[in-house]
Point group: C2
Chain length 338, copies 2
DNA sequence: TTGAAAGCGCTAACAC
DNA sequence: GTGTTAGCGCTTTCAA
């Protein structure tokens, strides 16, 4: 459009394009002070803003990171995104986020679009899918990206081959779930129900597997929307269909909030009659009454690590950060009463 | 880099650049089926991904929206960002977010960088600053953007001149605060404390003004970090310094959560001894015990509207959507007891 | 120290 | 229908 560009500046300042560029692009190329002044002056007056598209085209770097998440407004993801912003901002990077809306089938297309935008770094934070075909296509796409000198970071995506040239932020969902389950078991709970999100998602499948490792086949698994309302609904069903259950474990804190709400509504004492656990330890987990026992994930920290790894990946090697999940025992769990 | 580009495709398919472009860019220009097939085939094989930078350079449109927020991980903002994604995704737009970290001084620079990225739409969701100089510079920058055929959406930014050519999503913070205050007053509360975020921010100043409109000069205003911990700390100070206070109103729900936590810790009954109110009505406000009375803002809806307006703005006119704040009375407020 | 010019990847006239 | 070519705005050789 009518946008002022380098040419405008160069003309008004009476210098060549090259000189204007050298002054304005922060090059350390020597330019006589007088000319430099003149260019700066004109640029300021005309409010010149360089065109990152043109620059990116030339340099092959966009100073942009693309982040694929399930849902930006879910505290689980927004916590990580916050961490990504923390280090991206300092490094002069822009952050572009895209929602899969928890529909892993959309991932391939999204990655494509992010690649089209020529992001330098791709962070995959949404849960993967337990489907080899899908994984295969994804790896192919990512590999092309990496071979282009770009950088990929996988957050909790162990389905991608171990030798794939990407950095990783790992956390062991299965282990974390086991810790939660052992905690419940230690309190005497034998009849436990899990309120689980979509089990096609690897992260969910892992968590459920962890619960089953400890609690065995007797475990009741109820699939639900990964939201407060999903937890609320599922809890209703559990109370009706499995009245002997003494503990309800959710695969996400929000679902646990819904569970707590339903129990409160039904007049069921927590943890007196039923214990409740969450997963992820989002900020509010501490504010329910009773406060939620949950598996803590350092979300913001994970985002930071991811972005740091991404940046480093641009320089060459990739690396791996392992995050220890940690059981946080609060008031929502207690010994079997009854 | 070694990226496959249009030229590669054209050569491998044995056609001209133009033909390849016509097939791959979704142009409706006629191309013989055989050639079209060949191009598509090669593109598929080589996993061709068009370069959005080059395209953007040419078309002057990037299919990207830039969003300026205080903090992506704050549910207030992430709710709006979620709404923005909802409509951006459908429209084929990418969303780039930037944090001001609630430091309005950073805004100018951020807008500049977003302009450099050549976003088509700029959504300003972070609170403005009550400072004419700052506003003036901001308007100048935004005006240049708009004159470039781009689109600006202001969310709750009434400091920007009424005749400024931008769309707006407005909500009346002051009125909302008045409604909260009237509710408290109606319950008999006379000694009220407000836990407020940074009052240099216009949104906060407006909210405090609304409280003062109703409750008068006797209102105790305590400034705090706009976080749970900020509320927690402020509440401690209020209990110590103003023991006669019977209601505590926060300018954000998270702060109210902190207040509730502190009161619980001190054994103060809510709402029996002290009533508590929040602001914004983030999802979790319903899950505290007692549930939080607060001024509801339809965050996601606001985000959607903003993006819709932004898209429409590209076509020319700008528009305005007024959002009605709405008092939601829950369990955290009650008549003065004592 | 400065300027002219090539070219990043792509689209849109314009010719054939 | 298809191909050639001129740029979009910028950086960076290469000459001067």
């Amino acid at each position: 459009m009518g946008s002022v560009n380098l040419k405008t500046i160069a003309e008004k300042a009476g210098v060549s394009l090259a000189t204007a560029s050298r002054v304005l692009s922060g090059s350390d190329y020597p330019v006589k002070d007088e000319l430099r002044e003149r260019v700066l002056q004109v640029a300021q007056e005309l409010d010149y803003v360089p065109n990152a598209n043109a620059r990116g085209l030339l340099r092959g770097r966009s100073q942009t990171v693309g982040v694929l998440v399930g849902d930006v407004s879910d505290p689980f993801f927004s916590g990580m995104i916050g961490g990504i912003h923390d280090v991206a901002g300092k490094a002069g990077y822009m952050v572009t986020t895209v929602n899969t809306y928890r529909e892993p089938g959309a991932e391939l297309d999204i990655v494509r679009r992010l690649r089209a935008q020529r992001v330098d770094i791709l962070i995959l934070a949404a849960s993967g899918l337990a489907d080899p075909i899908h994984t295969e296509s994804m790896q192919r796409s990512l590999r092309a990206f990496v071979e282009d000198g770009k950088s990929v970071v996988l957050i909790g995506r162990h389905e991608v081959a171990g030798d794939f040239p990407a950095s990783r932020v790992e956390f062991d969902n299965r282990l974390a779930a086991r810790e939660v389950a052992e905690h419940l078991q230690g309190l005497g709970h034998r009849e436990v129900a899990v309120v689980a999100g979509n089990s096609r998602l690897l992260s969910i499948a892992d968590r459920v597997a962890g619960f089953r490792d400890v609690l065995g086949e007797s475990l009741v698994v109820v699939e639900a929307e990964p939201t407060r309302d999903g937890g609320y609904e599922a809890c209703g069903a559990i109370l009706d269909d499995h009245p002997r259950v003494t503990a309800i474990a959710a695969t996400a804190d929000q679902m646990a909030f819904g569970v707590l709400a339903r129990l409160r509504e039904r007049g069921v004492q927590v943890p007196g009659q039923v214990s409740v656990t969450g997963f992820n330890d989002i900020a509010f987990a501490v504010d329910t009454v009773p406060a939620l026992t949950t598996a803590h994930l350092p979300l913001r920290e994970m985002g930071r690590s991811a972005m740091e790894l991404g940046l480093r990946g641009l320089e060459g090697g990739h690396d791996r950060v392992d995050t220890k999940p940690q059981l946080v025992v609060r008031g929502s769990t207690g010994p079997v009463g009854r």
